[in-house]
Symmetry: C2
DNA sequence: GTGCATGGTGAAAACATTATCACCAGCCCG
DNA sequence: CGGGCTGGTGATAATGTTTTCACCATGCAC
């Protein structure tokens, strides 16, 4: 999908909002009113541009025939390949209909937890950690951190120039870092946990096209 | 909301499906075609009946102006008052945008877990247990059971006419039941767990009106 | 059996919406 | 400096859609 212009992004955002609030896509006159345009044709050209760039689909001759083509739900990230960004395509196992607004701050992706290093905080092997993407974390928060080529989930403690990454399982070691020497890359903070208790048959990843929410 | 007739329920279901699949509500001609009616007025009368019963809202003079008025998301059940049904209004703390299809079998409600009796299975105080409503459970499943006036979450083991409700914490006792004497009422089975790690500011319960799913 | 809710047909007027025409201006790129 | 993309105005035809007529049949409660 090509980059959208500022104007096109505004219009796409309005369509999203209209869909969420009214439960149906806007018409061209409604869009024209919202953007104070005198002609529906201005709107029509923006819609054609958005459709050409793959952001929406226009259903011919249907009133309110605007469909959003964004992917629904949050990406589930599995084992992170060495050196690759967390959200790189090869790490994404699928998309699942989890509402980002259910968590605070907003959820950005799901990370499948491997191992039992956070067992005593009730985070088990296979659980989905709900992650808010940020590079800043405060002491005491559960962080998704990158250590060299590895991505790990631990509780962060900051003491001046020293940092600790603390597991919640006596079988694992606390990692001590000197921030004047070592680099600590924060990928995000844990804002929630989701566990599927009947995981024998995991739900199919929704490739569903959205409209709202 | 009054009871819907079979026909009205069919039509409501179609509207729901159309919304989920097409991203916009159906028009009256579309409904007429779907139900093989020769006149859009047949549809119109059904819509007026649905609106009168509070199932939908009709937006005047708007193409596809049908809004679903169902409540979004799943109810979160807090402490269950003695003797009351789990989903009784006084037990419901709010509604949260959790997608029922994310779990298998389908999620019906969320139960706020009290205490640490399932700690070693990673279910902690305050966690939301995702529950599928059923009165039948198999041995080995995590069940929401009613014991007299209390509702409890334990793992179920069945051995002939004897049943055990087993906690996952050595500080708690296994409950032994003789099914020829005692009654074991199953309210549902646990199909998932959701935990909010930053629960200081819990998300506002959505009273949001849906369209989608 | 009379009244009322449900579930229809058929038609038509009024209005909402899409789609396309011609035309204009600014901007950036080669 | 010419051509293409963006972002507009204004108008109109064709179609989609809502709304409301009048009329009919069935089942059910009082």
């Amino acid at each position: 999908m090509h980059e959208l212009t500022a104007r096109q992004a505004e219009i796409l955002a309005f369509i999203r909002r209209h869909l969420a609030e009214e439960g149906r896509p806007p018409t061209r006159p409604e869009l024209a009113r919202a953007f104070d345009l005198g002609s529906t044709n201005g709107v029509q050209k923006h819609l054609l541009a958005l459709a050409a760039k793959g952001a929406i689909e226009l259903v011919p001759n249907a009133a309110r025939g605007i469909r959003l083509l964004e992917e629904a739900g949050l990406p589930l990230v599995g084992r992170v390949a060495a050196g690759s960004p967390v959200l790189a395509i090869e790490n994404v196992l699928g998309r699942y209909p989890v509402d980002p607004s259910l968590f605070n701050p907003r959820a950005d992706y799901l990370l499948q937890v491997r191992g039992l290093s956070m067992r005593d905080e009730g985070i088990l092997d296979g659980d989905w950690l709900v992650v808010h993407r940020t590079s800043e974390a405060r002491s005491g928060q559960l962080v998704v951190a990158r250590l060299g080529n590895d991505v790990t989930v631990k509780r962060l403690k900051l003491r001046g120039t020293r940092a600790e990454l603390i597991p919640a399982n006596p079988d694992f070691q606390t990692l001590h870092l000197d921030l004047t020497r070592d680099t600590l890359e924060i990928e995000g903070i844990g804002v929630g946990v989701i566990r599927n208790l009947t995981a024998a048959a995991p739900p199919a990843a929704h490739a569903r096209r959205v409209h709202r929410l």
